[in-house]
C-alpha cells in the first residue's frame, strides 16, 4: 500500500463525521490502526487485471420489477411513533439543525 493511501488522523476525523459516529480518542486510534491493516489487505484488489470488465452491481442482471401506482394503507400514528423517543404530537422532533449538512434534494 502506498503511504498516501493510508488513512491519517485527519481523514479518520472526516470519516467519523461522514459516518456520523462519535468516537472516543483511544477508540479512534485503535480503529484507525485496524482500518489501515484492513486497507492494506484489501488494496491487493488493485492487482487483478480488470480491463474492459463491466462492474457487477448485483449477481447477474435482474429484470426490473414495477409496482402499479396504487395507494396502499399507511401505518397508524401509533405504529409510526411506536419505536421513537422523539415524538412531539404528530411530528418527530430533533434538536437544532443550524449549520448542519447539505440538506434537501
Amino acid at each position: 500500500m502506498a503511504a498516501d493511501e493510508a488513512i491519517g488522523e485527519r481523514e479518520m476525523d472526516e470519516l467519523a463525521e461522514l459516518a456520523c459516529l462519535y468516537l472516543e480518542p483511544a477508540e479512534k486510534k485503535m480503529l484507525n490502526r485496524r482500518l489501515n491493516a484492513l486497507m492494506e489487505l484489501l488494496g491487493k484488489i488493485g492487482e487483478v487485471e480488470t480491463g474492459g470488465v463491466e462492474p457487477d452491481i448485483h449477481p447477474g442482471i435482474l429484470p426490473p420489477r414495477f409496482r402499479e401506482d396504487e395507494v396502499e394503507p399507511s401505518l397508524s400514528p401509533g405504529r409510526v411513533f411506536q419505536n421513537s423517543a422523539h415524538r412531539s404530537d404528530s411530528f418527530f422532533r430533533v434538536p437544532s439543525i443550524a449549520g448542519e449538512g447539505p440538506g434537501g434534494a
Binding site: E5, I7, E11, M12, L15, A16, E17, L18, A19, C20, L21, Y22, L23, E24, E27, M30, L31, R34, L35, A37, L38, M39, L41, L42, G43, K44, I45, G46, V48, T50, V53, E54, P55, D56, I57, H58, P59, G60, L62, P63, P64, R65, R67, L75, R79, Q82, N83, S84, A85, H86, F92, V94, P95, S96, I97, A98, E100, G101
Partner: protein, 490 residues
C-alpha cells in the same frame, strides 16, 4: 427418542398422524431450552407464549380437519436480524435493544402462516458482522459440541439452538457464509439459496446485493421442507425472482448418477486442516462411487473473493446502517444539536466491528478511493461470476470445504479479525456470484468436532444440491449428526 431429538420431518409425520400434538412438540423444545439454554445461550429473546398459542391453533385446525402445511406445528427459531412483528428484533446490537418491528419479514410471515410456532430470536454477531457470534453486543453463544468453542457466525445462535435440540429448524441469514459456516461448526445442514430465491423483505440488511435467508437444519430433508416454504417471488422484494419454486423434497432421492462434479482445488490448500481436506475427498469418492463424474477444477479469480467481499460488504453496510440514527427508532440520545444526537447514539450504540466496517465502507466509497477500491471490487466480482459461469458450463456441481478448520475456541481469534476473515475463503465466492450452496456434515474429526463439506450449484438449481447432499447424508448413515457424547454440561 424424545420429541426434541427428532428431525422436523419426523415431527411432521407424527403430527400428521396425530400421534403427538403441536403443543406437546413445542413444550418439549421449550423444556429442553430451559435446561440447556443457560450454558449455550442461543437465544436473545424467547417467545414461549407466542409458540404455544401458534401450536394450539395448529392443533385446533388439525382437529377440524383443515389442510395444513407439512411444517404446521414444527417449531422454528429465527435469527434476530429477521424482523418479527410485535417481537423485538435487536440484531444483537445495543442500538436496537428495544426495537419492535411493526410487521413480519416475508420469511417469518410464511412460517407463521404455515403454523410454525416461533420459539424465539437467536443470537448473532452484531448486525451479522462476524463469524463467531462473539460480536454480539449481549453475550457470546457457545457451541453445543464443546462449550469452550464458538458456534460460528453470524447465525451462531440459530445453529447452536438446532444443534442443542432447542429447535428442530432455524432461519439464518447468509451474506458471506453466515448460514453455512455455523452449520459446519455445529454439524448441521445449512443452505444458502440463490440470490433472489428467498425474499429479503424484512431482513435487516447487511449488504443488499449479497444477503439471503436460509435454513439451518438437522437433515437435508428438513432443509428442503423449510426452503420449499420460504422460497418464491415476493412483491415486497424487487430483487426476488419470479422463477417457479422447484420440488426440493422430491429431488432428495434422485441420486447423483451422471452428475458432473468439479472438485474445487482452491478449497484444498495445505494450510487447511488435513482432516477437512480428507472429508472433502471422502465426499468426492462417495459421489463417484454412486455414479457421479468427479474432476478437479480451478477457478482463477476466487482467490480475490476475500477482498471483493469485504470491500463491497463494507460499502453497502456503511450505507445500509445510516438509517440507524435514533430519531424514529433505536437508541435515543438527547443533545444540543442533531449531529451530536445522531453521532452519540451511533457511537454508543454500535460495537467496534460495526464501526470498523462502517468506516471502511465510508472510506472506500469516497471519491478518492471509489474507482480503485469499490469499482474495482465490482469488476472483480464480475470476473468471479464468470468463473462460476464457466464452471457450470462444465459441471453440475462444485464440491469443496466450508471452513479451513473446525470450530475454534472463544476468544481465540477475536483479537485477530484478519484471521477470521481468512477463514471465510471457501464461503465468500458463492454469494458474490449469487449461486446457491449447501453445507452439510461429513462426520466428526479426531477432536470430536463436526466437519462440513460444501456443494455449490448454478443459480436456481437448488434441486441438484439436494440430490447430492442427500446422497452424501445417506452414505454417512442418514441420521443427523449429534454431539456425541453430549457435553457433560448438557
Amino acid at each position: 427418542m424424545k420429541l426434541y431429538e427428532m428431525t422436523a420431518l419426523e415431527l411432521s409425520r407424527l403430527l400428521g398422524k396425530k400421534e403427538v400434538s403441536a403443543v406437546e412438540v413445542t413444550q418439549s423444545f421449550l423444556e429442553r431450552t430451559g435446561s440447556v439454554e443457560p450454558q449455550v445461550q442461543a437465544y436473545i429473546t424467547q417467545t414461549p407464549e407466542i409458540a404455544l398459542a401458534a401450536a394450539e391453533m395448529v392443533d385446533k385446525q388439525r382437529a377440524r380437519g383443515e389442510a395444513l402445511s407439512p411444517l404446521a406445528g414444527v417449531p422454528l427459531a429465527v435469527k434476530d436480524n429477521i424482523c418479527t412483528g410485535g417481537v423485538r428484533t435487536t440484531c444483537a446490537s445495543r442500538f436496537m435493544e428495544e426495537y419492535i418491528p411493526p410487521t413480519d419479514a416475508t420469511v417469518v410471515m410464511k412460517a407463521r402462516r404455515a403454523g410454525m410456532p416461533l420459539l424465539g430470536k437467536t443470537n448473532l454477531d452484531e448486525f451479522a458482522m462476524g463469524s463467531s457470534t462473539e460480536n454480539s453486543a449481549f453475550f457470546p453463544t457457545r457451541n453445543p459440541w464443546d462449550l469452550q468453542r464458538v458456534p460460528g457466525g453470524s447465525s451462531g445462535g440459530s445453529a447452536a439452538a438446532v444443534a442443542a435440540g432447542m429447535a428442530p429448524l432455524a432461519l439464518g441469514t447468509d451474506t458471506g457464509g453466515s448460514v453455512r459456516q455455523p452449520a459446519a461448526f455445529c454439524g448441521l445442514v445449512g443452505l444458502r439459496p440463490t440470490y433472489g430465491r428467498v425474499s429479503r423483505a424484512g431482513l435487516v440488511p447487511l449488504a443488499s446485493s449479497l444477503d439471503q435467508a436460509g435454513p439451518l437444519a438437522l437433515t437435508t430433508a428438513d432443509a428442503a421442507l423449510l426452503l420449499s416454504l420460504i422460497a418464491g417471488e415476493d412483491r415486497l422484494d424487487p430483487t426476488s425472482s419470479a422463477a417457479p419454486v422447484d420440488d426440493y423434497t422430491g429431488a432428495l432421492s434422485q441420486g447423483v448418477r451422471g452428475l458432473k462434479v468439479g472438485l474445487l482445488a482452491e478449497h484444498l490448500p495445505p494450510e487447511f486442516d488435513s482432516e477437512i481436506i480428507a472429508a472433502v475427498r471422502r465426499a468426492a469418492a462417495a459421489l463417484e462411487k454412486n455414479g457421479a463424474i468427479v474432476e478437479e477444477h480451478a477457478m482463477p479469480h476466487i482467490s480475490s473473493s476475500l477482498e471483493v467481499y469485504y470491500l463491497l460488504c463494507a460499502a453497502e453496510a456503511s450505507s445500509n446502517l445510516g438509517r440507524f440514527d435514533g430519531l424514529r427508532y433505536g437508541r435515543s440520545e438527547s443533545a444540543e444539536n442533531v449531529t451530536a444526537m445522531y453521532s452519540r447514539a451511533r457511537g454508543e450504540g454500535f460495537g467496534p466491528e460495526v464501526k470498523r466496517r462502517i468506516l471502511l465502507g465510508t472510506a472506500v466509497l469516497r471519491e478518492s478511493r471509489y474507482e480503485r477500491y469499490f469499482l474495482q471490487a465490482q469488476r472483480v466480482r464480475a470476473l468471479i461470476r464468470r468463473d462460476f459461469e464457466d464452471a457450470f458450463s462444465r459441471f453440475d456441481l462444485l464440491l469443496g470445504a466450508v471452513t479451513p478448520s473446525t470450530a475454534f475456541k472463544l476468544g481465540e481469534k477475536i483479537e485477530d479479525p484478519l484471521a477470521i476473515y481468512r477463514g471465510d475463503i471457501c464461503i465468500l465466492p458463492g454469494p458474490l456470484a449469487g449461486v446457491p450452496s449447501i453445507a452439510l456434515p461429513a462426520g466428526t474429526v479426531s477432536g470430536g468436532l463436526p466437519v462440513g463439506v460444501q456443494l455449490t450449484a448454478a443459480p436456481f438449481n437448488e434441486r441438484v444440491l439436494f440430490r447430492a447432499a442427500h446422497l452424501l447424508e445417506q452414505e454417512r448413515g442418514g441420521r443427523p449428526l449429534r454431539p456425541q457424547p453430549a457435553p457433560p454440561a448438557l
